[in-house]
């Protein structure tokens, strides 16, 4: 049957069986290549048609297309930005404000989620009954409530509970918490002192790392090497620091650093929710380490903290890292729920506000998707590299 069709096909495209191309069909390698090329061609054709069709339909409907709009002034304000932005800035700048805000919450969220996840995951395996149950309760509750609801909880419920600015909660030291966010003092550097400090800090961090790697320095010694030189430099420079305190003036706090409640709510919700998942990953990783390892370590008389850090975790990481990568990717993508609570992330600023001002859905959504894809691929790449580094190095294989 197969050969019948094959010979019919060869006939249909004008080739006889002893033809070179027909002989190529018999060779699985060549056939593979031709097949790959054909599929690629089909895919390219499909994409081309999709694009062409879209452009054609947009033209028919008199809807503008292209990326010219990026240079037009955006016209809207954004209340949280890492770079200079005003309503007169162009859409491209608004786009970058959104990208940076997304990155900020994703990076901080990943760090916090990792911290929470490892603490809770290890706590769940604690021999202490209460600690283990509390950790289990934390995980089971937070994993099983939809993230959007948690987000609304952290935003609307907590916002309602927080006092007004005049009655801010404050532990002193220029830190204020109220329904407008968290206000902390900003460190001001005397002109020309910030850069040398950064260089010193970087240099001593490298030194500390080197000391740890090469001379197996540990704990306080490493910290000392990393922290003392920059501190010394500051003393030499005559302590060129001052604090810019937030002060309540008129309708709001002026000065200092202000973290808007939307940011805090999003960060908390994302890191706690993802942290609960990470905790389970950590638990599975730790439990995957053979019991004999722990028993051997105990037999050597190692303290339990050291067993965890030096024996269990390094081996558990091989199991933890791959699912951890998925959680990091989830966190990044879930950060787009920011739109529900007005945190100006990429989706709110660009795919929402800019889209409705410009109306070019195809371009704007494509750009937004590309950013998430890039962030996710970047995270993936890094985690794969890290995973490869952790993998068991097999020696002696040819």
């Amino acid at each position: 049957m197969g050969s019948m069709i094959k010979s019919w096909l060869s006939g249909a495209i004008g080739l006889s069986d002893d033809n070179a191309l027909a002989r190529g069909f018999q060779d699985p390698r060549i056939r593979g290549w031709i097949m790959q090329a054909a599929v690629l061609l089909l895919a390219a054709l499909g994409i081309f048609e999709l694009v062409q069709n879209t452009v054609l339909n947009l033209q028919k409907a008199n809807i503008a297309s292209g990326f010219g709009f990026l240079e037009n002034p955006a016209g809207f304000a954004i209340n949280f930005s890492l770079i200079d932005y005003s309503a007169q800035s162009d859409f491209l700048r608004a786009f970058f404000v959104g990208v940076l805000n997304t990155l900020l919450v994703a990076v901080l969220g990943i760090l916090l989620a990792t911290l929470i996840g490892f603490s809770v995951g290890i706590a769940r395996l604690s021999p202490n009954w209460l600690v283990a149950r509390l950790a289990g309760f934390f995980i089971e509750t937070l994993r099983n409530i939809p993230l959007l609801l948690q987000l609304f909880f952290w935003y609307f419920v907590v916002l309602q509970l927080l006092p007004s600015q005049a009655e801010s909660l404050t532990p002193g030291g220029g830190i204020f918490l109220n329904n407008r966010g968290l206000f902390v003092p900003r460190i001001l550097w005397e002109a020309g002192t910030f850069a040398p400090f950064c260089v010193a800090l970087f240099a001593s961090l490298v030194l500390g790392f080197f000391a740890r790697k090469r001379f197996a320095f540990e704990g306080w010694k490493v910290l000392g090497i990393a922290v003392l030189p920059p501190l010394l430099l500051l003393l030499v420079l005559g302590w060129p620091l001052s604090l810019d305190m937030p002060v309540l003036e008129g309708f709001g706090f002026q000065g200092g650093i202000s973290l808007i409640p939307e940011f805090i709510a999003l960060l908390l919700a994302l890191s706690i929710y993802t942290g609960a998942f990470v905790a389970e990953n950590v638990r599975s990783g730790v439990q995957a380490v053979p019991k004999g390892q722990v028993e051997a370590a105990k037999a050597l008389g190692l303290p339990s903290g050291l067993i965890m850090r030096k024996i269990i975790l390094p081996q558990a990481m091989r199991v933890i890292v791959p699912p951890l990568t998925s959680q990091y990717l989830n966190l990044t993508k879930n950060s787009s729920l920011a739109v529900a609570i007005a945190y100006p992330d990429l989706v709110l600023v660009f795919a929402n506000t800019a889209l409705s001002q410009v109306g070019q859905a195809v371009e704007i959504i494509a750009m937004t998707m590309a950013v998430y894809l890039l962030i996710s691929l970047g995270t993936s790449l890094f985690m794969n590299w890290y995973n490869a580094r952790l993998a068991l190095k097999e020696r002696g294989t040819a």
């Binding site: 197969g2 056939r31 016209g75 304000a77 916002l159 309708f251 929402n352 409705s356 109306g359």
Partner: protein
């Protein structure tokens, strides 16, 4: 037989590709893609005029797809029984009355500010009647066509009474809540910049979330169109604790929009609106329309289709305006019923009075 299966698969894929590429009369890209769309979508994506237009599609479907808000009292809001009510809703009902002779043949689609234009562009709705401001950008590059103004609005600010603020100019350094994807955001930025004031903007996608944040004290002021402020104030815990500041910082002419490129359909929306305004000017309302048919006034007789049949020029039935007026009412009735003095909103006619009463409502002559 070992190598037969891959060869078979390859043969089918490659053969299909060849047939696709070289068979004479193989459908070209756009046409082929269009076939995959449903019939209604196809009608809408293609230039309507060439295919008999939106009107034909609507007639065949038997109902009008009307894009409204997700709930704005007085403009488009479901009532206790789940029926949509409001000025914007009445525009759609009037169109259904003109097209089908039955104002109830409307299906409503609740749209957020962000979704509304895409929904219209993509042909999910026939007309967008959702407190939408008529601007140049929207009328041109968004592929929309505004058919008229149903309500002349302007942007204002609402603040707490205990803030002791009596003017927008006192809101320097204030935090302001608003809806994303609106002209509101742009107007506020412009206004504060021209007056040298600093402000912080918090924008939400849904109005209910804006209101919740404002109620929770996240911001000093809430800004949107004045009509919207009156409507949303009703949703607050204690409406009396909030005042609407006197400044109107922008022109917000709200009106129905259709897709560009189907002029006949745009005409139907436009003249539905004019018929309602003209009826108020001529003193014809839902109660007296039947008697008015006997009127000696030629303008009334023309409007009601007693003399000449202007409805047919629009592609509608002869008594189109009569149906609009008896089933939905004239503009004055619609205004008073939805947002007027005797409603919870209690908005005065102001700019929305007839031109003969010092307002801006002016219908082109029906003749």
């Amino acid at each position: 037989m070992r190598n037969q299966a891959p060869a078979l698969i390859f043969g089918i894929v490659f053969g299909a590709l060849l047939v696709y590429l070289f068979l004479p009369g193989a459908p070209s890209g756009p046409a082929r893609d269009a076939q995959e769309l449903s019939k209604a979508e196809q009608e809408n994506l293609a230039p309507e005029a060439a295919r008999g237009g939106t009107l034909r599609v609507v007639r065949e479907r038997g109902e009008l797809l009307c894009g409204v808000s997700q709930g704005l009292p007085g403009f488009s809001n479901p009532d206790d029984e789940g029926d949509w009510r409001g000025i914007d809703v009445d525009v759609c009902r009037a169109m259904a009355a003109a097209i089908f002779g039955d104002a109830s043949k409307v299906r409503y689609r609740a749209l957020s500010a962000k979704e509304r234009f895409t929904a219209l562009q993509a042909g999910e709705i026939d007309v967008l009647s959702r407190n939408t401001t008529w601007t140049l950008t929207r009328d041109t590059v968004l592929g929309l066509d505004f058919a008229g103004v149903t309500y002349y609005d302007g942007q204002s600010f609402m603040v707490r009474r205990d803030l002791k603020v009596s003017s927008v100019l006192e809101l320097d350094q204030a935090t302001i809540c608003a809806n994303t994807g609106t002209t509101t955001e742009l107007n506020a930025a412009d206004y504060f910049r021209t007056h040298g004031l600093e402000f912080e903007m918090v924008v939400f996608e849904k109005t209910d979330e804006v209101i919740a944040a404002y109620d929770a004290g996240r911001c000093e002021a809430y800004t949107t169109d004045a009509s919207g402020l009156y409507a949303e104030r009703l949703k607050l815990k204690n409406p009396d604790e909030h005042i609407i500041l006197p400044e109107v910082i922008s022109k917000e002419p709200l009106g129905p929009a259709v897709r560009q490129g189907d002029d006949r359909w745009a005409d139907i929306v436009r003249w539905t609106l004019y018929a309602m305004i003209e009826a108020e000017e001529l003193g014809v309302n839902s109660a007296n329309a039947e008697q008015m048919k006997k009127s000696d006034n030629p303008s009334i007789r023309r409007l009601l289709g007693v003399e000449n049949s202007y409805g047919q020029n629009l592609g509608l039935r002869g008594d189109w305006a009569f149906q609009i007026i008896t089933q939905v009412g004239n503009y004055g009735e619609i205004f008073e019923r939805n947002v007027g003095k005797n409603t919870p909103l209690g908005i005065p006619r102001g700019l929305n009075a007839l031109w003969t009463n010092g307002g801006l409502m002016y219908a082109m002559p029906v003749r």
